[in-house]
Subunit: 224 residues, 2 copies
């Protein structure tokens, strides 16, 4: 297999990230590109879940993936090997989040304007990525069962800015003290509009519901 491309991001020069993000979002919408910003704590299974989702959607949509990490290249390689869609690795140079300027560098690095669905896998971190608008069409976050149902209490902003929350690794519910009703209630208290999807990439449970939501969102952008 060819090595995946690694793009070293430069620090952004824009003072007003919110404005840059709005500009990028409008551009993408005009081009019919749905940009999904996927956030979570380290090790919540973002990449594994993405593989399951992409394999269900790749015949309907042209999909590309940008994998952001401080170091390493394994996530982009996993996406390419297990789904066949185009993926690049973004190295943040130690930065704990992506902003709109960095996201734009990533999109340019994809070298193509023709995607229906572009996925940005943000740096694994429940704090900083929530503070920076990337210009994405929608924000999605993953809360994995092993992390515990108290995370909406401790990381309020991440839940507030996420349009969709996936509760992942639900196949491990029997071995962890995780109360699904309590988790739902805490998420809703932070963000009444969030859609919540319990899912397991291992068993496949819940993946269809996520794909249905994405399909609907992608088509709503494409039809504008």
């Amino acid at each position: 297999m060819d090595d995946v491309r690694i793009l070293n991001l430069k620090e952004s020069v824009f003072a007003d990230n919110d404005r840059e993000a709005e500009k990028l979002r409008e551009e993408l919408t005009r081009r019919g590109v749905f940009l999904l910003n996927l956030m979570s704590a380290p090790g919540s299974g973002k990449t594994t879940l993405l593989v399951a989702i992409i394999n269900k959607l790749k015949d309907e949509f042209k999909i590309g993936v940008m994998e952001a990490d401080i170091d390493g290249r394994c996530d982009a390689e996993t996406i390419v090997q297990k789904t066949g869609v185009r993926a690049i690795q973004l190295h943040t140079g130690g930065m704990c989040h992506l902003d709109a300027g960095m996201t734009r560098q990533g999109i340019e690095g994809m070298g193509d304007n023709d995607f229906d669905l572009l996925i940005l896998e943000n740096v694994g971190n429940l704090v900083c990525p929530a503070e920076f608008d990337t210009g994405a069409t929608k924000n999605m976050m993953i809360l994995s069962v092993p992390e515990g149902d108290d995370k909406p209490i401790k990381y309020p902003l991440m839940f507030e800015v996420s349009d969709a929350v996936i509760i992942s690794k639900i196949d491990t519910l029997p071995v962890f003290d995780f109360d699904m009703d309590v988790a739902r209630e805490r998420i809703k208290r932070r963000n009444p509009n969030a859609v919540i999807f319990p899912a397991s990439a291992k068993t496949g449970e819940g993946i269809d519901a996520i794909c249905d939501w994405l399909r609907c969102e992608i088509r709503s952008i494409a039809s504008r």
Copy 2:
């Protein structure tokens, strides 16, 4: 039960955090206080593990705990309820890490100079806390089995600055693809001097080894 005290930290005014951290570390050493900075991703089980450790050490040492979070108070309450040692909750005002100035505010908030072991539970985050020296005597981090054995590749600095790495939730090894040998090798590549402790707060496995290490470290400070 009385409510635990919540201390709202102010942003530090010091330009040179490394110098402030060194100053704090020297002061603590002079006073015979061992300050442990405990870091990990959200949901790796820092508090649960602390409860197990503290209950084994609290008859030998005077222990205090500072629980840092963006919001919430559940961790400090858990420590008080399950161990009986003094604990306060530090609110970071949205900040993703603690620095030496904030740590000093926390220590002053503990209202006592007489601890043998002070534990700072840092904000759940594998990125930013690694970049700021808190002034702690030693850094300890937790990598939980559900997070995966690839974390030393993706979060290099956190592993480089940690004197001890606990691989936690090992009771869940049967349900996750986590290779203990691979994890050890990747940690050692980042930090050949790190001591590694596989452990489970649920079964108690490995907790004694962590306590032995802490005992030795605390006594080495106390005897200076």
